[in-house]
């Protein structure tokens, strides 16, 4: 099968190009006065004058100009839109740092049960015992995975968990009468880490990496002083490498009285293999949408629970789900504890993203202890196999591994030789992959690698899928040797081709003119 049109763009070759194209219309462009989908329930109370209930000074003069469309049009519009998305249920999605593993279908079924989905967040705890028990159990299970005793499920995303971690660190030090001003982040850190540090009111101090891609321990020693509140670390790092000096890192950080924060983006590499708590981390966040397979939804929702050590526990957000022993032979009672005087307070409304908890809890219960360990084993096996297979296929000549080591669940290649030798950049390689029906890996991250390509296959992919990926990379490089324009002008087969992002940012059009 050819992935390259004979000549011109796909749209130019379209035999129906002289017909009006309604394919790309927005829902607002489909609007026509008089059409409707919603029929209000019958008015069964007196037909009061609206003016008497709501004085004119508070009233909107014109209704909001929402689309006027019928139900069949809405369904067709959004179904058509859906077909302009690539998705994990359709194809390989080796997006580094994002852990695009299979989303089991059971999870949608159980999350939609009315007892979960239609439960009001302010329902009295005595009438929400199933939900609170599920949250309690999930707290226990996540604590077990992290090797830390206390968990708050409240943060809504990884970045939100990070912010919780920084605020917990602040509360911990302030409670001891200490004012600290700096937070250390390695050069390999996720972009959210430094942004979080700023929002938490600290100054970011960067720590370099050494020749093997690990945290530079000398640089860390030089920068770790008593002004430092915390070191935020991802382990394995964003290079997909385990921090071999983790014991020494923990010692340096704790010796100056700082906390050690674990960014859980890469937890999929080590479940049941080792635990952040045993490494000396004080605070860990989980990405339930990565490791624990909440579907990403095109960019949310997720959840970013945190696990913490004893010394951080008093400051956890409130309310906290607790288990109280039953009296008189009754079973335990699950409750929301608001009486936490040292708590940093709420990070959001209600108790967190419960619908996400249901899915992740179902996942953990399905897998159990051995299954979670197998996840990490196969995630790491798949990544190392893919790396070896790419190397064997000769890809390393153009796309060498940034660090030539056994990787964990993901690895980073550098496209610098490819750019130099073949005249195509990592971006072009990625765009050409789109024509082969796969999602490209993460590109241009981490920043410490030139022309970075970050590949995370996950445990749920087959060997055949990985082999196919290698064939695609080999084929794109072969094409590029013959004619770099093929990659430079890709993609050809997608609903739209390369988009002018610079123009979009220069003169932003972020809503429809109505």
């Amino acid at each position: 099968m050819s992935h390259l049109p004979e000549n011109g763009s796909a749209s130019e070759r379209s035999p129906k190009s002289n017909l009006s194209d309604s394919e790309g219309l927005t829902i607002f462009e489909r609007s026509k006065p008089g059409r409707r989908a919603f029929i209000a329930p019958a008015l069964d109370v007196p037909d009061y004058e609206v003016d008497e209930l709501l004085p004119a000074e508070h009233r909107r003069r014109e209704p909001p100009r929402l689309p006027e469309v019928s139900e069949p049009e809405i369904v067709r519009h959004f179904n058509r839109l859906s077909k302009r998305n690539f998705d994990l249920d359709t194809g390989f999605y080796p997006l580094g740092s994002c852990t695009m593993k299979h989303n089991p279908k059971l999870h949608e079924r159980v999350a939609a049960m009315p007892g979960h989905a239609k439960l009001h967040p302010l329902q009295h705890p005595g009438r929400a015992q199933g939900a609170l028990e599920l949250m309690w159990n999930l707290q226990q299970a996540l604590g077990q995975v992290a090797g830390l005793p206390h968990v708050s499920l409240q943060p809504s995303a990884g970045s939100h968990g990070e912010l919780a971690g920084v605020l917990l660190t602040r509360a911990y030090h302030e409670d001891r009468g200490e004012q600290r001003t700096k937070v250390l982040t390695p050069d390999t850190a996720h972009g959210t880490n430094p942004a979080t540090v700023t929002m938490g009111g600290y100054e970011v101090v960067k720590v370099g990496i050494d020749a093997r891609g690990n945290v530079d321990l000398d640089d860390l020693r030089a920068k770790a002083d008593t002004d430092v509140a915390c070191l935020m670390l991802t382990n394995p790092s964003t290079l997909g490498l385990f921090e071999t000096g983790i014991d020494e890192i923990a010692r340096i950080v704790h010796d100056v009285g700082a906390t050690l924060y674990y960014d859980g983006a890469n937890l999929n590499a080590i479940m049941g293999i080792c635990r952040p708590g045993d490494m000396g981390f004080d605070i860990v966040h989980f990405n339930l949408h990565k490791t624990f397979t909440q579907p990403h939804g095109g960019g949310g929702p997720g959840a970013g629970p945190i696990a913490v050590s004893e010394r951080i526990e008093p400051y956890l957000p409130r309310p906290q789900v607790v288990r109280r022993d039953g009296a008189n032979g009754d079973g335990p009672f699950f409750d929301l504890d608001y009486e936490r005087p040292k708590s940093i307070g709420r990070l959001r409304g209600f108790q967190g993203n419960y619908g996400v908890f249901v899915r992740s809890y179902a996942y953990i219960r399905s897998l159990g202890a051995a299954g979670l360990r197998e996840v990490s084993e196969i995630a790491v096996l798949n990544a190392n196999y893919l790396l070896a297979k790419l190397r064997e296929a000769g890809v390393a000549e153009y796309l060498p591994a940034a660090y030539d080591r056994v990787c964990m669940h993901e690895f980073v290649l550098s496209g610098a030789p490819m750019k130099r030798e073949l005249g195509i950049r990592t971006l072009d390689l990625a765009k050409r992959m789109l024509d082969f029906g796969i999602h490209p890996p993460t590109v241009y991250f981490p920043l410490v690698v030139d022309e970075a390509l970050m590949i995370e296959p996950t445990e749920t992919e087959t060997k055949e899928t990985l082999d196919r990926f290698v064939e695609i990379v080999v084929e794109i490089l072969r094409e590029a040797r013959e004619d770099p324009d093929i990659a430079l002008n890709a993609p050809y087969t997608t609903p739209v081709r390369r988009l002018d992002e610079a123009a979009a940012a220069r003169r932003p059009v972020i809503r429809q003119a109505l």
Partner: protein, 462 residues
């Protein structure tokens, strides 16, 4: 037990051979031996030892059965999340793999569906709020209030927020939690007869933060509040309930700089509090200070219209510590449900829905206050929620109502000690006249019973 892996024993052997190691264990050699768990995780813990799909289904079903959902009782609970009807077409669309399972649209050529939906969502939110720029959504309502505070703090660098006590208690607490990190002081403005009374606003006020309608259901004089903020050189931030905005003067028209709010009522489930989405809209001047993702229109190389994530130079993955926020996701799927819902309601439908709730709430207000021992907490206009003062212990009243199968609303005492026996009652379009009549009967009986108890007790004491 399944870990959803596909690697057969033969695959594993071949793959290890290709890598050039003898065992999977060898791949973990970089981990210090001290740290390695020889026996793995504890299968006796809550993690368990693995179950079949059917067994997990049964466990989750049993847990669900121990919750009393809004389907299981006649519920008037609101206070930030509301039991609105969610049309069937939303489930059908958002369950599609193409919307459910992609990541953030980093590759726009294969993400046009999600990106265009974001663009349509932003248009709908701009229209509802009367503000020209909307992002693609943030986590949820109360943290959106915090995010708006951060924009104000970064915009004018002033040292204090004045936040109305009419703002949702969770939003106020979230703002305090976050503002501690920025060193911004949070002071509260009191309510009088349900409406915010602002103190004298000094030059140190970064933002005035109010809610419309406020937590007690009252429609505020939003124009007057925004004017006061502007006169002091502060930003006016309003947390809005999006459905009442069908009837109310939009925040933009009132002079508000940032409108945020909880999006659950727009086609999302209750889900015991999440996931939902927070919306975030602002004036043009604040465009480049907005947190979160924004979709923008552009053209491809063939001149075809398309959509991309834009203004990414605000964002954390490029700007790192200088980013406008650390938020790196939207709540895309929940916001998608939001724009489908708004399309389903449509231009006329959203007003009809708003007026139905307005009238049923007015009916409830009249009937409830005719009960002996029940009065209004304030006289302000209301749209779909009203606050009552009970002349009886609210906890006892609620317990009696629950026994009769009616959840009468939210007790205000925890958040408003000044309204120790206050009750907040929400009337969504799912609550009919017959439901309201039943509430009145049950609540009336419960209040009477509690009052006779306390009169009795007083009599004994006397």
């Amino acid at each position: 037990m399944s870990s959803y892996v596909s690697a057969t024993a033969e695959d594993r052997r071949e793959m290890l051979a290709k890598i050039g190691v003898n065992s999977i264990e060898d791949l973990f050699a970089d981990i210090p031996a001290r740290l390695r768990l020889e026996a793995g995780l504890d299968g006796e813990s809550a993690v368990g030892s693995g179950l079949s799909e059917q067994e997990v289904y049964e466990e989750l079903r049993a847990l669900a059965a121990r919750n009393i959902s809004a389907e299981d009782e006649l519920s008037f609970l609101g206070a930030g999340m509301y039991d609105h009807y969610v049309p069937a077409l939303i489930d059908s669309i958002i369950e599609r793999s193409e919307f459910l399972t992609p990541y953030t649209p980093y590759q726009p050529e294969i993400s046009q569906g999600g990106l265009q939906a974001m663009f349509e969502y932003q248009t709908a939110i701009s229209e509802l709020t009367g503000l020209p720029v909307s992002n693609a959504s943030v986590y949820e309502g109360p943290s959106a209030v915090g995010a708006a505070g951060y924009v104000a703090k970064v915009s004018n660098g002033r040292s204090r927020f004045v936040v109305s006590r009419g703002v949702h208690p969770h939003s106020r607490e979230t703002l305090r939690t976050l503002a501690r990190g920025w060193g911004t002081e949070v002071v509260e403005a009191p309510l009088h007869d349900g409406a915010t009374v602002l103190p004298e606003l000094g030059k140190d006020v970064s933002a005035v933060i109010v809610q419309q309608p406020n937590f007690l259901g009252a429609v505020e004089d939003l124009t007057g509040l925004a004017d006061s903020a502007r006169d002091a050189g502060a930003l006016a931030i309003c947390a809005c309930d999006p459905l009442p905005l069908a009837l109310l003067k939009s925040p933009g028209e009132c002079g508000v700089d940032i409108a945020v709010g909880e999006g659950q009522t727009l086609g999302n489930r209750l889900d015991f509090g999440g996931p939902s989405f927070g919306f975030f809209a602002a004036t043009e001047a604040l465009l480049r200070r907005m947190p979160g993702r924004i979709a923008g229109e552009t053209r491809d190389v063939d001149g075809k219209r398309g959509f991309v994530l834009t203004l990414q130079t605000r964002e954390q993955h490029i700007r790192r510590e200088k980013a406008t926020s650390n938020i790196c996701t939207s709540q895309a799927l929940n916001a998608l449900a939001g724009v489908i819902y708004l399309s389903w309601l449509g231009r006329r439908g959203i007003v009809e829905l708003g007026e139905l709730m307005l009238k049923r709430t007015a009916y409830a207000r009249g009937r409830l206050t005719s009960i002996e021992g029940v009065s209004l907490l304030h006289e302000r206009p209301v749209v779909r929620e009203l606050a009552l003062a009970l002349d009886a212990p609210v906890a006892g009243v609620i317990d009696r109502c629950l026994t009769a199968g009616v959840n009468p609303g939210y007790a205000l005492g925890r958040d408003y000690p000044e309204h120790q026996d206050g009750l907040l009652v929400a009337i969504t379009e799912r609550r009919t006249r017959a439901d309201i009549d039943r509430l009145c009967d049950v609540l009336g009986a419960a209040v009477a019973a509690e009052r006779s108890l306390s009169v009795g007790a007083a009599g004994v004491r006397a």
